[in-house]
């Protein structure tokens, strides 16, 4: 079924999180909802994996975190992208695109090349 969640390949979660945050600060739950929403359900994020990714990225200095208040007056930890994070996102995106383009083009070859 086309819209069943696909298990994520290793390393891509970090990239997705960075991209999600590139539009502004978000807390963990919002990131998770956003990803589900914009991938039309294909990307299903395991919440514990998400938090591990967030802390990992924070440790490496790609994102910063601080406590804030949500719309519902709930306390939540908001993450935002740092300058280093932005740089990393650009680099990794370029690498990803090259990689997938190459792989896709090979997989798309219908007939056996001579």
């Amino acid at each position: 079924m086309p819209n069943d969640p696909v298990p994520l390949l290793k390393g891509t979660l970090d990239l997705l999180v960075l991209k999600t945050l590139s539009w502004g600060a978000m807390h963990g739950f919002a990131i998770s909802s956003w990803l589900e929403q914009h991938s039309e359900g294909t990307v299903g994020v395991d919440d514990s994996a998400l938090y591990q990714a967030l802390h990992r990225l924070e440790e490496r200095g790609y994102i910063d975190a601080e406590w804030g208040i949500t719309g519902n007056n709930r306390r939540a930890r908001y993450y935002k992208l740092t300058t280093a994070g932005r740089r990393h996102l650009r680099a990794e995106t370029a690498t990803w695109v090259r990689y997938t383009t190459a792989v896709t083009s090979i997989l798309a070859i219908a007939t056996r090349p001579t």
Binding site: G28, D47, S48, Y51, Q52, H55, R56, E59, A76
Partner: protein, 898 residues
């Protein structure tokens, strides 16, 4: 202090394990709540929504664990970074501060350089003497020096390392030793002949010596066993590195060169590495095989069990115990003596360390060095106290600035770190300057203080560097103490309001305490200085029985070159020639020479059964020329000296010394008594014709010695005289050079004549006191000067602070003298306390100084009084200006300045 408050103190983020975990829990709970909210919005009821959200989240605990671990890791890194930032900031700030006040910085750095540098230099010397193994000796800990413990009847046990050739061979048979080697004392020998002859330091070593020590030759090889076979050995030579560089310019083709040493030609076969001096530290130029050197000076040494001139060193066989080895050595020794049927008094064999001053006979050098270390340590303490005072003064000046910073929110902890960083930076700079000075001055100082020691090899080694680092740490801590204690008590509002003044009393207690400490320590040094100066003067003013500053000793080793009749002819010719040199007042020949050679003699007097037994042994006999006593400057106390009439054919006569007269003839006149002094009864006895004052035999400090004299012409048997020359003035050195040149002209083929002023021979014996006197005086005066300047500064500051108070007093009619008295009392109170403390400390430490002093008690009242007088006088002078300024305070100005 709890960890929490500790962090707060340094304004670091308060995140410990519990907090991290609670934060995480909060975050996850928030996520779950938000997820539940979303479900509720879709119509699920709140409880089910919550449960669903939780299940959706996944494994709660595993997540917590991983996240908590990574969070802790992150926290740790952040904290470390913050610490480094703090330190970097403080260092930069400290540097800026120092640059802004160059005078202060210079004063502090110089003071510390002196303190730390003195310690580095002194420790370098102590290290050389007491701690370091001899250079190039491998595994010094496994080697032992052998010494015999003897006890003659009625005397105490005495231990000595010097033994004879046959004893060495006995020890070589001990199975517990894997190897035994023998070596001698370095002595001067002549190199070459005639006008080009020079004097070199030669030492003898057995062929087993170099392999035993594990040293490798720089060039060529060492002696082979074949080359060291008794009785003659083979005439080969090994040069020392320094000698090789000096004489042969380090030329590699020196091997095979022939050298005429003494009266034998030796072929050079090798060179020792740089800095190698054998087991002792005295400089050596050339090493010769023991058998060859023995044969050259004592052809009969293989049978001689009486002469003792060498020392032995051995390595224990693996698994052998020292006790067993000592027993075996004693057994071997006793076996050797059994065959000769002579007496010996050796009770046991002992082993000592190969490390220089732990060895026998070097105690004086070691003690001096240890003392110097103590002095250097005291100087460092004084330097630290001084620097702490300066730092406090600076902190006081910046009182307002500090108050503002505290008010603006800097934590006291940060302030603490800053003060400490300050001090350590200063200590570091001081140490850097110290190392530079030590490197240059250290070698010079070592050469001056301990000139016998070979100065090859570097001065700075890793141990000295370690001491310097230790000194930095100690200095940093000590100097920081004062200001740190001060900053704790800053009263914010008062400081801000007063704009520079602190408490109304104006007395900086910390500064006063430091001043008292400095005063006490410098008083201690001054007392030491006084004691050593008195010792030195006592020693120098002792009556030695000879006018040493005018006398010159000339001796030549003719063995193998001239036979005895030729030698007599030589000396007689030489004597006539020397007497005619301008600048020479008298000259005489003597067999048996003060500070050079002692000959034991016999003395039998009818009616006296046995001679008194003295610690110094004796009696000793001298064969002297006719004007011996006038040459020496020794007074004849009774009777007369020899004259030309007392020649060979005339009646035998002798002159005895004061001690002999006093001990052997306590209640009668010795003049006219006939004493038997020769072994053969057929030779008639000799009449005592005079009593002369005591002349020192071999030591400046010496117990009573029995000595007697007879005319050289009446001497029975061969003799090897030396010549003593008396100069007309005190400039004995230049006359000595003339004498030497004249002697070299008497025969073209003679070995190098050893001509030295007596002052040069005797000087080393005064060295310990001279050292003590110079060091203590230098450092003591310096320290005291610094303390007095500190006193002046303290009083001036105090007076400035109390201007208001003095202004009021003057306005209310106080007398000038009254005000002067107030200030003076302040100054005297501090210095007098320091004086009392210092004298008490000196009295306590006196116990250890006693053995080093000469005829001065360690609690000598004159010295203590003198020091007290100097201190009080200096205090009065230093307090004069501030007190007068206080008395002249203009009340209007003082009041207005508020």
């Amino acid at each position: 202090m709890s960890k929490h408050r500790f962090r707060r103190l340094f304004h670091l983020a308060p995140r410990d394990r519990v907090e991290i975990e609670s934060d995480l829990r909060d975050e996850i709970d928030a996520h779950v709540s938000l997820a539940a909210d979303a479900l509720v919005r879709r119509g699920v009821d709140p409880d089910t929504a919550l449960k669903q959200a939780r299940t959706r989240f996944g494994d709660f605990d595993a997540t917590m664990r991983t996240l908590a671990a990574s969070a802790r890791h992150r926290e740790g890194r952040m904290q470390r970074r913050e610490w480094l930032d703090v330190i970097r900031q403080d260092l930069r700030y400290a540097f800026r501060q120092l640059r802004q006040s160059p005078g202060f910085t210079a004063a502090v750095v110089i003071t510390l350089a002196l303190g730390i540098g003195a310690n580095a230099v002194m420790f370098g010397i102590v290290d050389r003497l007491l701690l370091s193994p001899p250079p190039h000796v491998r595994d010094a800990e496994s080697l032992v020096r052998i010494q015999q413990v003897t006890q003659w009847l009625g005397r105490d046990e005495a231990a000595g390392p010097v033994m004879g050739w046959l004893t060495y061979r006995d020890f070589a048979t001990v199975p517990s030793f894997s190897s035994v080697a023998a070596f001698g004392f370095p002595r001067d020998m002549s190199l070459g002949r005639g006008p080009d002859a020079t004097s070199i330091k030669v030492n003898a070593a057995s062929a087993s010596f170099f392999p035993l020590l594990g040293v490798r030759p720089e060039l060529g090889r060492f002696f082979l066993e074949d080359e060291d076979q008794p009785p003659t050995g083979t005439p080969v030579a090994v040069l020392s590195y320094g000698f090789w560089r000096r004489r042969f310019a380090g030329n590699a083709d020196v091997l095979g060169t022939k050298l005429l040493i003494g009266n034998q030609v030796y072929t050079v076969v090798g060179v020792t590495p740089e800095g190698f001096t054998g087991v002792d530290l005295k400089a050596v130029d050339v090493w010769l095989p023991m058998t060859a050197l023995n044969y050259a000076s004592m052809p009969n040494y293989v049978n001689d069990r009486g002469s003792m001139w060498l020392m032995t060193v051995a390595s224990l066989a693996p698994g052998a115990s020292r006790e067993v080895a000592a027993e075996q050595a004693l057994a071997a020794y006793v076996r050797g003596y059994e065959s000769t049927k002579t007496l010996h008094a050796t009770k046991r064999i002992e082993f000592t360390s190969v490390i220089a001053a732990r060895g026998p006979g070097n105690h004086n050098d070691a003690r001096v060095a240890a003392w110097l270390l103590g002095v250097a340590g005291t100087v460092l303490l004084i330097a630290c106290a001084n620097v702490a005072t300066l730092l406090i003064a600076r902190a006081l000046q910046r009182q307002q600035e500090i108050a503002v910073r505290l008010a603006l929110g800097i934590s006291r902890g940060r302030l603490l770190i800053q003060t400490v960083t300050d001090s350590f930076l200063l200590a570091l700079l001081g140490a850097g300057a110290a190392l530079l000075t030590a490197h240059f001055a250290g070698g010079m100082l070592q050469a001056w203080l301990l000139p016998d020691l070979a100065s090859e090899g570097g001065f700075l080694n890793h141990r000295v560097i370690a001491i310097v680092i230790g000194a930095i740490l100690v200095t940093g801590c000590l100097t920081a103490l004062g200001p740190v204690l001060q900053t704790r008590r800053v009263d914010l509002s008062a400081a801000l309001k007063a704009g520079g003044r602190t408490n109304s009393g104006g007395r900086s207690r910390a500064r006063t305490a430091l001043l008292v400490l400095q005063a006490a320590l410098s008083v201690m040094l001054l007392v030491g200085s006084g004691l050593f100066v008195r010792s030195l003067r006592n020693a120098e003013s002792m009556r030695l029985g000879m006018d040493t500053e005018r006398l010159i000793l000339a001796e030549i080793n003719f063995s193998g070159t001239l036979d005895f009749p030729q030698r007599s002819e030589f000396w007689n010719t030489a004597l006539t020639r020397i007497k005619n040199i301008p600048g020479v007042e008298h000259a005489t020949l003597t067999a048996g020479t003060p500070f050079w050679l002692s000959i034991a003699g016999l003395f039998r007097v009818p009616g006296v059964d046995s001679l008194p037994r003295l610690e110094t042994g004796g009696p000793y006999v001298h064969g002297v020329g006719s004007d011996y006593f006038s040459t020496l400057g020794a007074r004849i106390l009774r009777g007369r000296a020899f004259d030309d009439v007392d020649s060979r054919s005339a009646q035998r006569v002798i002159v005895i010394n004061e001690t002999m007269a006093h001990l052997i003839f306590p209640d009668r006149d010795p003049i006219g008594v006939c004493a038997g002094i020769f072994r053969r009864d057929s030779i008639p006895c000799a009449t005592i014709i005079g009593v002369v004052e005591d002349v020192r035999r071999s030591g400046v400090v010496e117990g009573q010695t029995m000595q007697y004299y007879l005319p050289l012409d009446q001497w029975i048997g061969p003799h090897a005289p030396a010549m003593i020359v008396r100069a007309t003035s005190d400039d004995a050195a230049s006359v000595a050079t003339t004498v030497r040149r004249e002697l070299q002209r008497v025969r073209p083929d003679m070995p190098f004549p050893n001509v030295r002023p007596y002052a040069e021979i005797i000087d080393p014996q005064f060295r310990a006191w001279k050292l003590g006197a110079v060091m203590f005086t230098l450092f003591g005066a310096l320290a005291f000067l610094v303390a007095i300047v500190g006193l002046y500064g303290l009083l001036a500051y105090s007076v400035a602070q109390r201007r208001f108070e003095f202004g009021i007093r003057v306005a209310l009619g106080a007398q000038a003298s009254h005000i002067v008295r107030i200030v003076m009392v302040h100054g005297f109170a501090a210095m007098a306390t320091g004086l009392m403390l210092g004298l008490a400390l000196a009295a306590l430490a006196g116990r250890w100084t006693e053995p080093l002093l000469f005829e001065v008690g360690s609690r000598d009242v004159t010295v203590y009084f003198a020091v007290a007088a100097v201190v009080l006088l200096a205090t009065a002078i230093a307090a004069l200006v501030p007190s007068r300024r206080a008395a002249r305070t203009d009340p209007m100005e003082a009041l207005r300045a508020e």
